[in-house]
């Protein structure tokens, strides 16, 4: 199994969700995140005092999938989250040892 984490632009969340649903992914965890990549953030001015706001609001999506789905799910995420402009985000994949469903105690792929 693999954990796929995507950091994307907040307004792209619905697109990614719809695309994953269409692919057949049943669930996901979504959280608010802040960060920056190469472009950094922006500046704001209050009464003439300028502040550099380098942490930009993002959304983090986490999905655990079967090994054979991992590559496709990443593709689906990248395609649906893409705007082509700077700050579109990142997607990464890490191996997962085991998953347990809390309600039933099932392990492994059947718990997904």
């Amino acid at each position: 199994m693999k954990l796929i984490t995507a950091i994307i632009k907040p307004f792209k969340l619905d697109d990614v969700k719809d695309a994953l649903e269409a692919y057949g992914i049943a669930g996901m965890t979504v959280s608010e995140a802040n960060g920056y990549g190469r472009q950094r953030g922006h500046s704001e001015v209050y009464r003439g005092a300028e502040y550099d706001v380098d942490l930009v609001p993002k959304v983090r999506i986490e999905v655990v999938v079967d090994d054979m789905d991992a590559r496709s799910v990443v593709d689906v995420m990248v395609k649906s989250a893409q705007t082509g402009r700077i700050g579109d985000g990142k997607v990464w994949t890490v191996p997962v040892e085991d998953v347990t469903r809390v309600r039933t105690g099932e392990h492994g792929a059947s718990a997904l």
Partner: protein
């Protein structure tokens, strides 16, 4: 403010229309203090907004009590002591101001009950003290601020109110009054440019220097945490200011109407003036700038609102917006931490409004074909007020620094003054951060142990 007198040749008759207007005005001015709290509070960081609001609210409490006891008496009672103050005991506790020996309501010569005038004036004293707190956000011991409020309003505000409005040295009956022929006029401070704004602005500057900078000033970002709150506060201040200025006519008449229009005209122009500076200097007009421009315009027109034409008010307001927008940067240049720009907004706009009467006054100003006399008088009164407030605030502030101390613990300041001084926090967005109720056994309550044995407590 019109000269007041309790005794006239013809006994005054109760004017219910004016009395109604004055009661509304007093209520409007009282609203300005919580409005100021929102205006200031929004510009603070979220960890210290409650303390900011509390500094205004406690000013209402302290000054309201002091005003009833000796404040009115020191400012306006008939027992003048050398043109400097009135005797605090003449009307102590507002005695002799409600009904006379025959049981009739004590009236002023404008036909309003004296006690209504007391209420109106009480709200001015409260607001002036609350204004000062904007330079002290995030870092000042609440107790010290509370004691300062009571001492400062007694030694600085009441004497100045007496000198300017109560027939004292800086009033038309004092040093600068009189003249002859067309020059028979004196200082003008219609609704409080000197007494309220120069006074509060100067005190704020002195205290900002005395208390020292916030931890991380100039290094750590101290962005406003809630700009809509600031704009709401500015809007409510504008609304309340109609009581402040138009109420100072002490009548429901044409002067009050002119004042209302002049107040609005100057404020609109100041809003645009501030935004123009931002557009040129920073590239974009901002919401905080609009809210600040509104306040700068209101401050500047306050002393002048009955002395100008509406066109003159537009000029005065526009210049006030530009001047204040430029002045708020001074604290970074000179390194004092006037946290919320009381100096840039209130002192600078208050000085400009007071002095501009000598330029733009329709009946006496230089630009309307009159001489330099009014300009000289206004400048002198402003300078005296600056010196008086500066010296006395420095003395009171230094004494408090040596005894009670101004600053809270540095760790508490970094963690947020709300927690340290009030044991509260303003916002709780996270479900997890609500904490837990300390476990106190309730009769019949059952705790479950690890081995699932039920234990009665």
């Amino acid at each position: 403010m019109r000269q007041i007198a309790l005794v006239t040749a013809d006994p005054p008759v109760l004017d219910t229309g004016t009395t109604a207007w004055m009661l509304i005005s007093a209520s409007l001015v009282l609203l300005m203090t919580p409005a100021l709290a929102l205006f200031y509070g929004g510009m603070n960081r979220s960890k210290s907004v409650l303390n900011m609001l509390m500094m205004s609210f406690v000013a209402v409490g302290v000054v309201g009590v002091v005003y009833v006891l000796w404040g009115y008496s020191m400012s306006f009672s008939d027992n003048d002591l050398g043109g400097f103050i009135s005797n605090p005991f003449t009307n102590f506790g507002l005695k002799d101001l409600i009904t006379d020996a025959s049981g009739a309501t004590v009236l002023m010569d404008t036909g309003i009950p004296a006690i209504v005038f007391v209420g109106f004036q009480l709200t001015f004293a409260i607001l002036t003290v609350a204004l000062i707190s904007g330079s002290l956000s995030d870092r000042v011991r609440f107790g010290t601020w509370l004691v300062f409020s009571a001492i400062w309003v007694t030694l600085v505000y009441f004497p100045l109110a007496h000198m300017v409005w109560g027939g004292g040295l800086l009033s038309p009956d004092g040093w600068f009054g009189g003249g002859s022929g067309d020059d028979a006029y004196g200082p003008i401070d219609f609704a409080g440019g000197t007494v309220v704004h120069i006074n509060a602005g100067m005190a704020a500057l002195v205290l900002a220097v005395l208390a020292g900078r916030r931890v991380g000033f100039g290094k750590v970002p101290m962005r406003p945490h809630n700009v809509p709150l600031t704009m709401l506060g500015a809007g409510l201040l504008w609304f309340g200011w109609f009581g402040f200025n138009a109420g100072s006519a002490l009548a429901a008449d044409g002067t009050a109407g002119l004042v209302w229009v002049n107040t609005t005209a100057a404020t609109c122009a100041a809003l645009l003036g501030w935004l123009l500076v931002e557009r040129i200097r920073d590239g974009r007009p901002t919401s905080i700038g609009a809210a600040s421009g509104v306040v700068a315009g209101l401050v500047a027109i306050t002393p002048a609102c009955a002395a100008l034409t509406p066109i003159g008010s537009l000029v005065l307001g526009g210049v006030a917006g530009v001047l204040s927008a430029l002045a708020v940067g001074l604290k970074y240049r000179f390194g004092y931490d006037d946290s919320l720009d009381v100096v840039g907004v209130h002192l600078v706009a208050g000085l400009w409004g007071t002095i501009a009467i000598g330029l733009l006054g329709a009946d006496t100003g230089l630009f309307y074909g009159h001489g330099l006399r009014q300009l000289g008088i206004q400048t002198a009164v402003a300078a005296i007020a600056l010196a008086y407030t500066g010296v006395l605030t420095l003395a009171i502030g230094t004494a408090l620094k040596a005894t009670m101390g101004w600053r809270i613990d540095e760790d508490d300041e970094v963690a947020g003054i709300d927690q340290a001084q009030h044991a509260e926090s303003a916002y709780e967005m996270s479900t997890f951060a609500g904490g837990r109720i300390p476990r106190r056994p309730i009769a019949g309550d059952r705790a479950v142990t690890r081995d699932d044995e039920e234990v009665s407590v």
